[in-house]
């Protein structure tokens, strides 16, 4: 059975390969906001008191790590494509095939992320090299496998959330607004714009129970080695919990949706 999805992965690679120039353009353009962020935080850190938790190097390292995790684990167009397939009735063809749609889409997502990370490697490598004096390799060798595990968890979590949202296309015509509503939560609460530990303790405590920090902030914290063993265990438990929750939600919505689905003209 695995062979089928390996094949889908291969097809996904071929399919996304035509977008390689888009990927390069995209990652080149994303350098501009990164430089903007750098200037803003430099101005923040230059002020007398500055930030107690982060100096400039730590902040730079933080945003570079955000970029890396984002490249590896964040779905870019998956939710749009899945929703479009449902809306336009293309899933009829898939329904007749003996494959699990969630696993099928997950394989395509994997292929897309893999190729994206590979194609944009020169750009990312260039950025890492330019900023090398701010970056610090992890002290403990254990950090790497833990980081890899948390990125995997983050990718699954983000994918399942995106997939669940796309499933709503079975019930409503236009899901793009809902995608953007969730996206604004993710953008600010997963640590994209500022490190979440700069928030007030009360807000931080509340955020820990939501899925958002485990999409981005948690893996980044691991790479920066800012978590003690207790926080690490807790984080992995919460991430695992949310991956399972969203995985089940995704599967359930699919099953309900297919029951409701009527292909136009079919």
């Amino acid at each position: 059975m695995m062979a089928v999805y390996r094949r889908v992965f291969g097809i996904g690679l071929q399919d996304t390969f035509v977008y390689r120039w888009n990927f390069v353009l995209r990652s080149l353009f994303s350098v501009i906001p990164l430089i903007g962020t750098f200037f803003v935080w430099r101005s923040v850190c230059e002020q007398g008191a500055g930030l107690s938790e982060y100096n400039l190097s730590a902040i730079v390292f933080y945003f570079v790590a955000v970029m890396v995790v984002d490249n590896l684990a964040s779905p870019t167009e998956d939710e749009w494509r899945i929703a479009a397939e449902i809306r336009e009735g293309q899933i009829s063809a898939l329904l007749t095939k003996p494959i699990n749609h969630l696993a099928y889409r997950l394989s395509l997502f994997g292929a897309y992320r893999f190729l994206y990370s590979l194609v944009t490697l020169p750009v990312v490598g260039g950025i890492l090299w330019i900023l090398r004096e701010h970056l610090q390799l992890p002290q403990s060798a254990l950090t790497w496998p833990l980081f890899a595990l948390s990125v995997l968890g983050s990718a699954l979590l983000q994918f399942f959330i995106a997939y669940s949202l796309a499933m709503l296309a079975f019930w409503i015509l236009e899901v793009s607004t809902l995608i953007f509503i969730l996206y604004s939560f993710e953008y600010f609460l997963s640590g994209h714009v500022f490190p979440l530990d700069l928030l007030s303790p009360r807000l931080q405590a509340a955020l820990q129970w939501t899925p958002f920090p485990y999409e981005l902030f948690f893996p980044v914290q691991i790479l920066l080695e800012r978590l003690d063993p207790v926080a690490l265990q807790r984080g992995f438990c919460m991430q695992f919990f949310w991956v399972c929750m969203m995985g089940c939600t995704a599967r359930l919505l699919w099953m309900q949706g297919v029951r409701k689905y009527q292909a136009a003209g079919g």
Partner: protein, 264 residues
Amino acid sequence: MLRYLKIYALLLRNSLIREMSFKANFLLWTVVEVLWFFGQVLFIDVLFSHIETLGDWTKWQVVALVGTHQVVAQIFQAFFYVNLTQIPELVRTGKLDVYLTLPVDSQFAVSSKQFGVDNLVNTGIGLAITAFSLSKLGVVPSVGRVALYFFSVLLGVTIHYSVMFSLSTLCFWIIRAQGLIYGYFNLFNIGRYPDSVFRGAFKWIFTWVIPVILVANVPTRILTGALEHPWLGIAPLALTSLLMLLFTRWLWLRGLARYASASS
């Protein structure tokens, strides 16, 4: 000129009718915008819980900046954004032919078909935020300053238009240019920050070559009275936006020349 205005009024009316048939969606877009603002304000709040000023800007000046940035971006998106994003597709599929045969200027035709009403509502939200931060700052701008504010906002819209138009028009040379559309958002991402945090070549390029830093900063400085002489801000903004607009014209004509030769 009058003929163009009449055509434009008709196009606006059509868009309004189309939008109003999707009311729920219309409201949800406003929700998205409000959430986005809350996120930005949260970010500013986090920053200013650690510092007093960013560059030479205080907290509520930065909020006014974010509000103004939104005003400019949303006016641009209301009138042009959707149309410009469709140019690559028109070129790729050859549907551009239809626009070329219309008895109006082709750049006008591709720039003006659709119009986003929800963006105008969001412009209102941006203005409200800006006004609120002015009250927090205790600044009451004169009528003249408000007029200059709106004038510089329009110049900013011109720059938004020129940047997006240039990116879209590159599709005459690069067929799969969707990646360039992200460029627009990435470029204007830095326009929300105070100009005084930027330095060196980066500042120079994004002030004089692609003046995204000026777009929101100049109007905000005019409104909050942070510029002694408003014209000191408006002059470079007017100059760069005029140059950029001429550049789009040149690029469009070059692109069309290439398009014609490609399809025959």
